[in-house]
Amino acid sequence: MEKSIEVHSLGTQLSEIVESAFFVFPEICLLAFLLLILIFDLIFRQKLLWLFTITALLGLFLTTGLLLQQWSLTAESSEGLSLFSRMIQLDRLAIYFKILICVSAVFTVLISVNYKSRAGSFHLRSVKRIGEYYTVLFGLLLGAMLLSMSTHLLIIYLAIELISISSYILTNFNFDERSTEASIKYILYGGVSSGVMLYGMSLLYGLTGTLDMTHPSFQENIAAAPMILVLFAGLFTLGGFLFKISSAPFHLWAPDVYEGAPTPVVALFSVVPKAAGFVVLMRYTAHFFSQVSFDFPWQTLLAVIAIITLLLGNFAALWQKNVKRMMAYSSIAHSGFILIGVLSTSSFGMLSVLFYVSVYALMNLAAFLIIIMISRETGSEEISQYRGLGEQYPLIGVLMLIAMISLTGLPPTAGFTAKLFIFSSLWEAYQSSDNLMLLLLLVFGLFNTVVSLFYYLKIPYFMFFKKSETTFVADRFSHQRTGRRHDKFYLFDKILAIVLIFPLLILFFKSNWLIDFIHTIPFEF
């Protein structure tokens, strides 16, 4: 008798799993293309290199299409579906971020096409085993897409590890001293922070008896649990998320990794894991911090983290001579700004986070694309090498100028609108809570925007106002003059840069286009 009941419930459970599988078609599609690329790699070893890029793009387009279809199928007010026995939650928030992740990935693939590393060991047009690059890249995307849906601690851990391990491997793809050094540092920092996160999760499990953050008993037990252990569990787990968004005090890996890793991969790192990290942080804040019964000032805690992140990122960026290292500190600082939106917790705060992350993805990808183009020209990533480039190549100079203005947050670019939303959500949060720390955060945020002006505008300043040391740098590129001289700035890259920069201007004047889209997301976790 008992046995038959068990079998019956197992049967319903299995049919539930099959039903759930229909809702993860985008992920299944991505996985199918991962395997397809792997099989192609076995068949066409080192031949037909363009085929891999086409297949990867096709896979990403198809996944994006499926996601858009999913978006249109989910109702605006629905709470979201719990799938695979409450492992993941599919709601519009997750779908929005998954679309963002796929679109960023499309641009990353396009950026990678013409990238050539310093020693030439990473160049998708000539490199051997291009298949591995796309396989690992798709693994990272799969992890990020899962992370943006996850509400279960086990899935959060697995998704973070999938992203991390793919990242360690991708960091090493230049195969030179610098990228190897970057990847060993990355894997050591990453291993420690995920270990600490895991310890926190194990304590959370001990305190609540469940791994599912949306489970009612999770919140009940958190509310009843003793303070010190809840603090340890909560903060340790938070540490793992802060690592993924490269926020202080878990930001140490970022500068070395950004400098050493291949530039297209860095562009991806600065967008995709970060976006996924912010979704999980938002869910965690909603399910954990707001449930703690005793009077723990977690909003203040996040505010302090945001202030430290802003200060560290912006002030360290001032002294950098290498563009990629500067962009690393800049991305740390941007994490601080996005954290402001997360800690506001109002639905306007969430809206500003989504808007900021989307704009940030565009401007960061654009900036890294131009960095790649210029480093192909000058053979260096030092800011001092940017002298006089603006006069020689006005188009590149203007595009860089717009990207940098947007990163600073000045009008007329979408970066300004994004910062405006973030700060007004913070002001709203301050007025409703009267927490002085939030006011302090506002002051620091504005102050840091001014600081960031100096290092962002240093690049256009070098490009337009400093004269190039050598007259036209014929000697430096004599080897290129003989052959394909027009190779320096491929037309393809120029068009791509314009495609990335143009929306930054559009979204300033027509920001409600994106806002209306985001407004249809119900912010209930």
Binding site: L158, Y168, I187, G209
Partner: protein
Amino acid sequence: MIPIEHYLIVSALLFCIGLVTVIIKKNAIVVLMGIELILNAANINLVAFSQFDASRIQGQVFSLFVIVIAAAEAAVAMAIVLKVYHFFKTADVSEVSDLRK
């Protein structure tokens, strides 16, 4: 039955030892040993709490996945350590510092 606190104390000790190892050791392989200690500490917690979760044994399942991932991570880490040795002729992290110059 062993009281649950005793498992937790052992795991807290292992966690702290692992963390200290990570902070003070220079050799990349020893740092990885510290990371494995931290993972083991978390696993002890998970398994110990799982005793009271007999119908769902979530903790045991979680710890199984942790072991799998630790193996994957160790494999990648060792490959990178070999690569580091190939370029720098040392596995000492503090001597590996080409960046930032």
